[in-house]
Symmetry: D2
Subunit: 383 residues, 4 copies
């Protein structure tokens, strides 16, 4: 084990940027023994500009060069989903620990190959993890702790929604996330994947079957004139077909007898990043909304009814997960902190010689649920 891990980040867009910042913050606030030494991007000039801004000493234009470099210990895959399989498997086979952004792959078959590679690498002490970063939100990590302590009791209802509205305007152009080849699926895979993962993370339940629907409300959109970034792109006059879902809704049963409802959409006008989870159990309930990410609502059913109610916990106390490294109570954290916590946990596991979570196998399980939702069309699919 080197004194400090050298990390190569593949990709420098939204995810690459936030991961890179996360590695630096983890070193400062958690003493995480790692640093980003390389960034990988196909456009050298743009990649170099990013490296300069973020203080990264080396630039590569081909991920194969990173895989071949013995001084690199970790590859952090922040590229779009269609390249995950090759980079991750290549890196694992070369003995690099791999953190892969979600979704694991754009297909179940690709994800299965990644799991095989991860298992093989694990036998050689090489670690892998899929980046469901929301698990590292302090409020959600604390919610899981309450569930594990039995504070919610037997869970009867899981209610998980991920509501956004960034393509509600029918003139928003045909960006890569609306193209099935590049993105795999639409709202389903992009944000639905998160709530599938979190439902399992929080409750420990596994979905045994589901039935649901997907819909594409806006069938054609202006073709992209100029790609200026996922959320602010400009369109041309020519229109092309949207090949992914705009929204997906499904209901499911779990292996421990709960009913679960899910909804993933980019057409919930006014909801910007409303990832909402509510659990109702025999002893209590929990409710969370990422738009208020520093809060967790908890109802303790064992308290006297007259004085009972959902309590709004500010998850900013030093005893809360991850919070002790940051600021005094009431001084909230932001979205990017989930990535700082993610890389910290990843390196902690590497150093301890344990398996970081969520594993590639967990990423594959999410992929299978996504596939089941796509294929259901209103009929029951057993998982």
């Amino acid at each position: 084990m080197p004194e400090r891990l050298n990390v190569a980040v593949a990709g420098y867009a939204f995810m690459g940027r936030i991961h890179t910042a996360g590695w630096a913050q983890a070193a400062k606030f958690f003493g995480t023994p790692a640093r980003v030494t390389h960034v990988i991007g196909r456009n050298r000039a743009n990649t170099q500009a990013f490296a300069d801004a973020f203080g990264i000493p080396n630039v590569l234009t081909d991920w194969r060069d990173a895989v071949a470099d013995p001084d690199i210990h970790v590859v952090d895959v922040c590229t779009p989903g269609d390249s995950h399989v090759d980079i991750a498997i290549g890196a694992l086979e070369a003995g690099k620990h791999v953190l892969s952004e979600k979704p694991l792959a754009n297909s179940v078959e690709g994800a299965e190959r990644m799991v095989v590679a991860a298992e093989a690498a694990k036998a050689r002490g090489v670690r892998s993890m899929v980046g469901f970063s929301y698990r590292r939100t302090p409020a959600l990590a604390y919610a899981r702790q309450l569930v594990q302590e039995g504070r919610i009791g037997d869970i009867r209802h899981i209610r998980a929604l991920y509501l956004q509205d960034w393509i509600a305007d029918p003139e928003f152009p045909l960006v890569w996330r609306l193209d099935k080849d590049a993105a795999g699926s639409g709202a389903l895979g992009d944000v639905g994947a998160h709530i599938i993962d979190l439902a399992g993370f929080l409750t420990g339940h596994r979905l045994t079957g589901l039935t649901g629907l997907t819909e594409t409300f806006v069938k054609t959109r202006p073709k992209l004139a100029e790609q200026t970034g996922g959320l602010t792109a400009k369109g041309s006059e020519e229109r092309g077909e949207v090949t992914v879902d705009d929204a997906a809704v499904w209901v499911a049963r779990t292996d421990r007898g709960a009913l679960a409802t899910f909804e993933a959409t980019r057409f919930a006008v006014g909801r910007k990043n409303a990832m909402r989870i509510e659990l109702n159990g025999s002893k209590g309930s929990l409710a969370f909304d990422f738009e208020r990410m520093n809060e967790l609502e908890f109802f303790d059913f064992t308290q006297p009814a007259t004085e009972n109610g959902f309590r709004r916990i500010l998850v900013t106390e030093p005893e809360h997960p991850y919070v002790g490294a940051w600021w005094p109570a009431g001084h909230g954290l932001g979205y990017e902190h989930t990535f700082t916590h993610e890389v910290k946990d990843f390196v902690d596991a590497i150093v301890a010689g344990t398996d970081p979570e969520p594993s590639f196998a967990e990423g594959l399980a999410v992929q299978k649920v996504l596939q089941a939702v796509e294929s259901s069309k209103g009929d029951w699919v057993t998982l």
Copy 2:
């Protein structure tokens, strides 16, 4: 048309009580020309006690006596669902206007017979209405108005939940609402019926098909030792089987291309009467929770993004539906006001010679959705 309608209320429990108070309040605050002259109950002593407290001059122990009495103009059916068919049809055939509590009947077949009777009576100028009182919540009546004015645009998502927790304790006894013969179904018919009706009322959309699940989490409960009222009953040591659902979840498509999700449960610990509706359209969104019944959240997507957000409208301005008859802005109304508004609207229609809404036919349509949910078991049911 008599100067003032004489009303016979059948039943004096929860619904009979709130209807009776509603008739008196409607006369005072809206000048509604009607008064409760008779109450009908099988136990004479209890019925008389109720009549004394609520100032009702006459007591009857058999609804047939009301139907036969030429001085009675209106029969208001507040008994459990298994008696609705007989009373309503008997009253309609005798030329009485009928207001029937929901659900219209415990079976589709019974509801269909009521619709036939209502159509026949209508030809003779006799009016009928089913009591989906939540339509008369000012915030929801105003929400419908915004939809009808096009402020929400084309609706893409309907999200309707009715969350309660009053039987979450497995030792809560086997009251009549947990018995299929008396109640028809469980959470589905009791509270699910409301959100089905409201989804249609608010949007004008009709469900074309659905898929869903029901579940009974607690299979047996203490038999009833002493019926002390639906929510505070005491149980004995012997247990009996729960024959209705504890919860139901389903997703649907509408005739105008929206996705709809529904959930009805009595196991959402901490949620007391959380009837929540959210609509997302192409021009805006609306959100409502009956636990805050004087508020409506409205997002107007046509406003500039920087200064936009869900606005919390206090639906207490004099211009809001029904509110002008009551108090100044900010001085909220309560649950019972929906019944005052309901009987006001019913009498307004009788006086005007128009058909009050919702009709028995609308009640039947809800019943058919309930049946579809029960039969789906995770597969698609076309409506």
Copy 3:
């Protein structure tokens, strides 16, 4: 004691109307042995119309006739403040129990005379009460109970605001409430009186001194063309002087060492009836906003910090004050219920032969605080 008390209500505007409805509801829902038999108003036609709508058998045009009528047991004074002294003293001296709307009088001197009359009447078993109806909000009655049980501990902070906006438009006309002769003071006496009373009711603390400011933001307004009711009046082109305060702010000390801050205003644009109270003690905190009158927020400082937070109690459980007579949990009450509870409590005390609260003496104490605020002009006033 008669089997049922006959009540004469003086006034039939906003307060007269809501009191009259409250008396009827109290009889129905609490079995309160009283009924409104007379209404008193100067304009016979209007008074008769009100009596017809609300089912009151007798109409009087002079309060002296009510005082002289031996069949009347209670006089309920709902007229503007400038007539309280005469009516209340007249009625008390004639042996009628008196419920007087707040403020007790328009001057400390008038209030003092009422207290003398009340004390003298009390010796003869004649009861009196001032109508601070907000005390009968279930959430506030429950808040007081929590304080009395020691759940908040030693109170350090009292924060009481009453925010409205109904005259924020400078073209709103010069209604009687903006005239010092008729109304005594502006926001201070109208709504400030409520938060002074509630601060004492909830905490048991007494203000020992204060310092504060008042302000009239809009100095002249259109003279009243036509009085169509307090909140919807129309103005003429001629302007007249506003002779009362638009807002008042003050800070105070209490006899038990707390700091208290108060604000009463009709210029808090967007706040319709935001009567907000927060208490911070050594063991807990309470927060309330009348715009959400069915909710109370409670922070229990004795709970572990990690799982602690303000809990939103829906004060709709059957064990909560007054609520058992009404509807199931989660089915909220409205503004007018506070008046139903008020007359119920008043009659309960008469029947029990005890002194109803708040007494005229308490009403006088509030009046003295109002006077102190008016005279402070930023300097300390000892109470």
Copy 4:
């Protein structure tokens, strides 16, 4: 002007840590041409450990060495208030740009000397700024913009509270912040200073006079056994006197006719960092609570009453101040971002050759208000 400014941070506790991280983030996300090259601390070992963790190349144990070093361009003063005067004046005289944490000084006299030094330095192109970092909260910067655009109209009410509870336990020990010599004052200077500054920043109004009270609820506390950090210190058995206020409340008039109320306390049990500001104007209102720092509530009084209400703006759109450099809409920022924005703005001004705000003179003005509150004792103090 060097290509990149070298910054020496004085202090490495709470403020030193967050400033240091802020400098690094500003470089990455805003391209701010500056980096922390030196950290100054009296204990060399601790200072070195901090430097290692945060990647700072040089450690100094005496601020005079920084002042003397020609390679240092900026001194960032993050030490306790009693050392600000000497360090800031020393640095300014040596030609270093100075960012000083608030409060500017522990006394008006000290602050006045700093202003003199800043004015003299300014003549030589040397810049200075006081660190009221909350101004750089996007929601508050946007609130100011709305005020400046006239969206709130003439402001009538300013309501500013800063509520915390971290010393509510009487056994919390006597840390330096409770010692007048070290801290200057208690809640008043620590958190009250922020709301004084923000009231002026947001509205442009100046306080012309005030009246208020301060209180020390807990007079003695356990002496400090071991200083383990401000909020988690352990106490010994011996008790010492608390020499600062626990809370302060005051009301004021402004130069443009508004009434302002202020409260600063560390005894609002359950409130962790509730810095709350509400403005009510003739055209609208704004409300903010730092516990939900990504939200701003806005009421636009020019909209029709029926559809009006406070709208909850998520201040996370790319067009909002500072936000474009960060994440997509709905992905919130945290407390520390205010410091990143602060140093960015400071350097922008240095580069542009303009005066950064807030100036030392503004810091002095806040100091004078603090002094007035302390001296008022319930009587009027003209400012």
